[in-house]
């Protein structure tokens, strides 16, 4: 076997809890590992699979509804040849009052290697990671973080910067990203702010003041309630999902007012640069936070985010397990 070409950096972490914990070098290591997995998924008639995690057990443990993220993790595991198990919480012992630690002890008694967890409590992944031997991947903990979403977004932005500049080594230093919507409840926003600012991008968050955490600027981003101001120099316009299920709290006066002030549509985009990419973490409330013709338009990279998500999650699982 030829030894590694360069003295590449070595991955040392057991778990992936949040992008706040990671260094720029660690984030770049994940992003640099992902392209070969993009190529695996694109094999035409060939086998879309590599044997890196053959015989490993990966458990998807989701306490909140999720289609995209859960299927993306499951597919990532399968494309690495791992065995996967999905814990259906609706039907599991959590409903009978078993604690997270007890349930995970039982999963580990069946020799799990990776546990992917989504839970409504911020910090749940961290608590499990401290006490258990399995590699824990946080797939969203409350409003805290959703690190693989932040990674796949950074990967998608970097990929486009590299294509635009025709430079395969280009970074996202100096790229301007505007994140629009419900910042308060958004773990996607938090992971993106941590990840993108560490990679040298400048991030501005924008939304109604009732959906803006007071000390968000401490994370290293700019803050505004004015959409035009937020997107005027943006290379990326990132619309967040309005979490209608949380609208019971009446955090903005009406859907109609939100649409008038903050919807990303062809009208509001007149104030953004023409090259700006449109991103959204899904699922979209069509014509609420994002107009249909923009979501499906030529500047939208929303489906690329989904494709890249599988590759980035493959990279994360590989680095955690095989390091």
């Amino acid at each position: 076997m030829t030894p590694a070409e360069t003295s590449s950096p070595v991955w040392t972490r057991k778990d992936l809890i949040g992008l706040e914990d990671l260094s720029r070098q660690e984030i770049e290591m994940i992003l640099d590992t992902a392209p070969q997995f993009v190529a695996v998924s694109k094999r035409g008639s060939g086998i879309k699979k590599v044997p890196l995690l053959q015989g490993r057990l990966i458990v998807n443990w989701f306490f909140e509804p999720s289609t995209r993220t859960r299927t993306s993790f499951e597919l990532a595991a399968k494309r690495l040849s791992a065995d996967t198990l999905t814990m259906n919480v609706q039907a599991s012992s959590s409903k009978k009052g078993e604690t997270l630690h007890d349930t995970l002890d039982n999963i580990e008694a069946m020799h799990s290697d990776v546990v992917v967890i989504r839970h409504s409590f911020a910090g749940s992944a961290h608590i499990l990671a401290e006490r258990h031997d399995s590699h824990i991947i946080n797939a969203g903990d409350g409003a805290h973080e959703h690190p693989t979403q932040g990674l796949l977004d950074a990967f998608t932005i970097r990929d486009h910067v590299r294509k635009q500049k025709n430079d395969p080594e280009a970074t996202i230093d100096g790229v301007r990203v505007a994140i629009i919507g419900d910042i308060s409840h958004s773990r996607v926003a938090r992971s993106n702010i941590w990840g993108l600012t560490k990679l040298g991008a400048s991030v501005v968050v924008c939304g109604p003041s009732t959906l803006m955490p007071q000390d968000i600027a401490r994370m290293g981003c700019e803050v505004t309630t004015n959409l035009r101001e937020a997107i005027k120099d943006a290379d990326v316009v990132y619309a967040l999902r309005i979490q209608l299920e949380r609208q019971a709290k009446c955090l903005f006066p009406s859907i109609r007012e939100y649409i008038r002030l903050y919807r990303i549509d062809n009208e509001s985009l007149k104030h953004a640069p023409e090259h700006a990419l449109i991103m959204h973490p899904g699922p979209i409330n069509r014509d609420l936070e994002l107009a249909t013709d923009v979501a499906d338009g030529p500047r939208s990279v929303i489906l690329e985010q989904v494709s890249n998500g599988v590759a980035v999650r493959m990279a994360v699982m590989h680095l955690l397990v095989n390091s």
């Binding site: 076997m1 030829t2 590694a4 392209p35 190529a39 008639s45 060939g46 699979k49």
Partner: protein
């Protein structure tokens, strides 16, 4: 061990042997194993073009996702960043794997597995610039530039103009071997 001229002579001979061995060059694909196998595959293709006027297909193979040493923890966190790329279907082709140094044979084993995941080639052959011995698997080159017997502690390095700025093969015998 091998200077630029000797390397070129060896590559011309390898190209001749590939042509002699494969009647239908339209059905031949040279697959360079990254990183240094790819420039070698490009050079072989250029030589074959000069000799026959026929352009054979060329692709790149990373092989790293098929390594057998990742689970052992020896090469922690280093599948590297090479990406396999070729824009043809390997089904029914004669694929010639091209690498700079042949040693344990484990890279070639990984390459065989990777290729077969893409399709079923008619044949797979192997071309290497240097065989340094130390085989751990039953794998041999069909086209070989240079053969040399080495010990594990010795260091064999192939440098290529495209990557390293010069064409040379270096052999550094370990100190213990000398004494």
């Amino acid at each position: 061990m091998l200077d630029a001229e000797a390397m070129d002579t060896a590559l011309v001979r390898l190209a001749q042997e590939i042509v002699a061995n494969n009647e239908d060059l339209h059905a031949v694909a040279l697959m360079g194993i990254l990183k240094r196998g790819r420039p070698l595959a490009d050079r072989l293709a250029a030589h074959i073009d000069n000799m026959t006027g026929q352009r054979v297909r060329v692709g790149s193979l990373a092989t790293t996702l098929y390594r057998d040493d990742l689970r052992s923890g020896k090469n922690v966190g280093s599948v590297g960043t090479h990406v396999t790329h070729f824009d043809f279907d390997v089904e029914g082709l004669t694929v010639v794997l091209v690498d700079d140094v042949l040693s344990t044979g484990r890279t070639i084993r990984a390459a065989l597995d990777e290729i077969i995941d893409y399709g079923r080639p008619k044949k797979i052959q192997l071309a290497c610039l240097v065989d340094r011995g130390l085989r751990e698997l039953p794998i041999q080159a069909d086209y070989l530039g240079w053969s040399i017997s080495t010990k594990y502690e010795d260091h064999v390095q192939v440098k290529l103009k495209e990557i390293d700025g010069e064409d040379v093969v270096l052999l550094e015998r370990s100190a213990e071997a000398d004494s």
